[in-house]
């Protein structure tokens, strides 16, 4: 099962490599990792996705928690979290298909960022599922390139993750 783990860490050099190194060093699966500053610039949020059975995930959470720079570790299952991913997709857009592609993009609320004589670059955000659907639809045409961001997530509701390690 896929787990979404959200970490609050000190915004210090080396922190992200420490987090990712934990996964490679202990042989845990790491499918995506994203990070960026939070409201408090001294803190970073790292969102990562990993698969494994309950005991494996339990270990991963404990090990992440053990890192000196970790302030908070949360296991956010899908229903507890708002999750988003972003993808930038470049497709070949030959004359006959241009209108059709734009139509498809509209259906998926993708934005066209760049237009050339024979290609479009589009941006789409949403759940991983939505992105994957969009990519599948676009592969009816010729996909030239894709860049995906990996997942970012935040817990639903008004609870915040600021403050002390728990």
């Amino acid at each position: 099962m896929r787990h979404i783990i959200s970490l609050l860490v000190e915004n210090k050099p080396g922190v992200v490599s420490r987090v990712s190194g934990l996964f490679s060093g202990r042989g845990y699966s790491l499918e995506s990792i994203t990070y960026g500053e939070t409201m408090d610039p001294s803190l970073c949020r790292v969102t990562l996705t990993s698969t494994g059975d309950e005991t494996a995930i339990e270990q991963i959470l404990k090990q992440l928690h053990r890192l000196i720079d970790t302030i908070k570790v949360q296991n956010l299952t899908d229903h507890k979290a708002i999750t988003r991913e972003l993808a930038i997709v470049k497709v070949r857009a030959d004359k006959g298909y241009r209108a059709e592609i734009i139509k498809m993009a509209e259906t998926y609320k993708a934005t066209v960022l760049d237009v050339s004589t024979d290609s479009f670059v589009m941006e789409i955000t949403g759940s991983t599922r939505k992105i994957e659907d969009f990519i599948e639809v676009m592969s009816e045409y010729t996909i030239l390139d894709i860049a995906r961001s990996g997942l970012v997530a935040l817990e639903k509701g008004s609870k915040t993750t600021k403050g002390k390690k728990s």
Binding site: G14, R18, G21, R66, K164
Partner: protein, 577 residues
């Protein structure tokens, strides 16, 4: 006060109560050495290899209970520390390792003697730092000492660019640390503690299982009281030796691949395993599917990641061993499991350790027992291999912090420099490294350090002419195909040892000559009646290291043994093999 980074470092060492460090100089750390020149109150022991420095700091820390400090230069100095750091990290030993780094403007440029020390040491340390601003230096050092010795202890590396060492700033060494992500838990959960006590009081077949965490937390006295009060038998991991006297009637010896029969049987049969400060390492547990299958497991550990990692734990307690045991103790009663306790003690009597050997050489078990007679209060270090297991089985351990061995990483070359560090820290003790002829060659250069420092470390080499433990596996599991484990001159066994102590064996190096070349004492022992006199002679020498080359039986094995992958109940003894 205005001062350079290097001056601040020495100030920090003094504030942290450090008066002895281990190190090796180089371009990047010359500024620190320059300050040390004027500060004899911080003494530096000059090792002959940075690996020796880290192991020495580690041995010092294990024996004294203080933080060990070592200092190395950038690049090769730093890379040479890796094995020592990994060793300390695995066994949770508090070390602060200061390394020099190339100046900031050269980092990343493949500068001379540059290495990514932070990247290299990350997986083998509790925490590490690259100090990129002079203003951070004091805070980082303060944090390093704090992190190293609190919670589950471990090594912390502080990598400092040379220009930071030279930068002058008006600052003070901080008094306090504030790390919002780091709050080690010492006190156990009170409901869990009550549950654990109740389970122990009601168990039909209770057993204590103790490990290295007991030494680290200083739990010896409280545990002694608990054992006296409850009468429950005790086994330990390799690292837990010394908490109870080896001779104590409640103590069954260590469990595991080379554990005692009584201990391994007790694990297999118990119905409650009360484990404290252990990791359930695979060398201790054997096949997990056969490990303590009838038992509910209670596990006390300061590190939550060790709990329920290898075995399913019924009552987990996160906390410091001593703190938790102090809370458990008043809740415990004398055990009603008299039948079990009697049975266990009988089993211990029925399965004495066997020190006999197949061939004409000396018996290692016998030698170690004699070492125990002559040095009953010794601080005992070992290398890794048969020497380590024989020592664990045969030396009469009797107190905490007197047993220094690389349990987790299993580092050959650990024992001698660790002995040096322990001896430097505790000049009034006698420190003995029980070594294999293979392992001792991994850090033999530290003889020079010992001679310089007048440290009377005794190195008892159990010389079998083989990488004995590997040979034992080859004998038992690879049809005696002794591939590259014979250390004699031709790489082949050339018969029994020469029994004339004056003539060197067909072997290199001649350890007696080698000791003498370094200015140490060298003694060769080939006959049983020479063992005690040699040890007595070693005892009388107090101003230099002594190497005793014991020519032991070449094919002596460690028994009992649980074959790799088998369960603890599937041990074999020398007789059966």
């Amino acid at each position: 006060m205005e001062r350079t980074g290097s001056q601040l470092i020495v100030e920090a060492l003094k504030k942290e109560g450090v008066d002895l460090i281990f190190g090796y100089p180089g371009g990047a750390v010359i500024p620190i050495f320059d300050v040390l020149y004027d500060h004899p109150e911080v003494e530096l022991v000059l090792n002959r290899h940075e690996q020796g420095s880290v192991h020495a700091a580690d041995g010092y820390a294990r024996a004294t209970g203080k933080v060990g400090v070592c200092l190395a230069t950038s690049g090769p100095g730093a890379t040479n520390t890796i094995t020592g750091l990994a060793t300390a990290n695995f066994d949770s030993i508090p070390i602060v390792c200061i390394t020099g780094q190339v100046p900031r403007n050269m980092i990343g440029n493949d500068a001379f003697q540059e290495a990514d020390t932070q990247g290299l040491t990350r997986p083998v340390s509790k925490h590490n730092y690259l100090v990129t601003r002079r203003a951070d230096l004091g805070r980082v050092l303060k944090e390093a000492f704090y992190i190293a010795q609190t919670g589950r202890p471990g090594p912390v590396i502080v990598d400092i660019p040379k220009d930071v060492l030279n930068t002058i700033l008006d600052d003070e060494y901080p008094e306090e640390v504030s790390l919002r992500g780091y709050n080690p838990v010492y006190k156990g959960h009170s409901r869990q503690i009550h549950k654990a006590a109740e389970a122990l009081n009601n168990a039909q077949k209770p057993l204590f299982y103790i490990g290295g965490g007991m030494h680290l937390s200083g739990a010896q006295d409280i545990f002694r009281q608990i054992v006296d009060k409850t009468g429950i038998p005790v086994t330990s991991s390799l690292m837990g030796l010394g908490i109870l006297e080896q001779e104590d009637p409640n103590f069954l010896g260590m469990i595991g691949m080379h554990g005692t029969v009584a201990a391994n049987q007790a694990i297999t049969d118990c119905d409650l395993l009360f484990s404290i400060g252990v990791r359930f390492d695979d060398r201790a547990t054997g096949d997990l599917n056969r490990f303590a299958t009838h038992a509910d497991i209670i596990h006390i550990d300061i590190d939550p990641t060790t709990i329920s990692r290898n075995v399913a734990v019924k009552i987990p307690i996160v906390g410091d061993a001593r703190t938790v045991l102090e809370e458990v103790a008043p809740l415990l009663e004398e055990s009603k499991a008299h039948d079990w306790i009697d049975e266990i003690k009988t089993r211990k009597k029925l399965n004495p350790l066997d020190e006999s050997v197949p061939g004409p050489g000396l018996s290692p078990g016998h030698i170690i027992r004699q070492i125990g007679h002559v040095f009953p209060q010794g601080i005992i270090c070992t290398e890794v291999g048969q020497n380590q297991m024989w020592t664990a089985l045969f030396y009469p351990f009797n107190r905490t912090r007197s047993w220094l061995t690389s349990g987790g990483l299993g580092t050959m070359g650990y024992g001698f420099p660790a002995a040096l560090g322990a001896q430097a820290g505790l000049p009034d003790k006698r420190v003995i490294d029980i070594a294999g002829d293979g392992s001792i060659q991994m850090n033999i250069q530290e003889l020079a350090t010992c001679v310089d420092q007048k440290l009377p470390v005794i190195i008892a080499i159990l010389n079998n002419g083989y990488l004995g433990m590997v040979r034992q596996w080859q004998e038992l599991f690879h049809k005696k195909r002794y591939s590259h484990t014979c250390l004699t001159a031709a790489g082949q066994d050339n018969g029994p040892w020469n029994t004339d102590a004056q003539t060197p064996p067909p072997y290199h190096p001649d350890f007696v000559m080698l000791a003498k070349a370094y200015g140490a004492e060298g003694i060769r022992v080939t006959k049983e009646e020479e063992i005690i006199p040699a040890l007595e002679k070693a005892k009388s020498i107090t101003d230099r290291p002594i190497v005793i080359d014991f020519l032991i039986d070449k094919e002596a094995n460690v028994w009992p043994m649980v074959p790799p992958g088998a369960g603890l109940d599937q041990y074999i003894t020398g007789q059966e093999a």
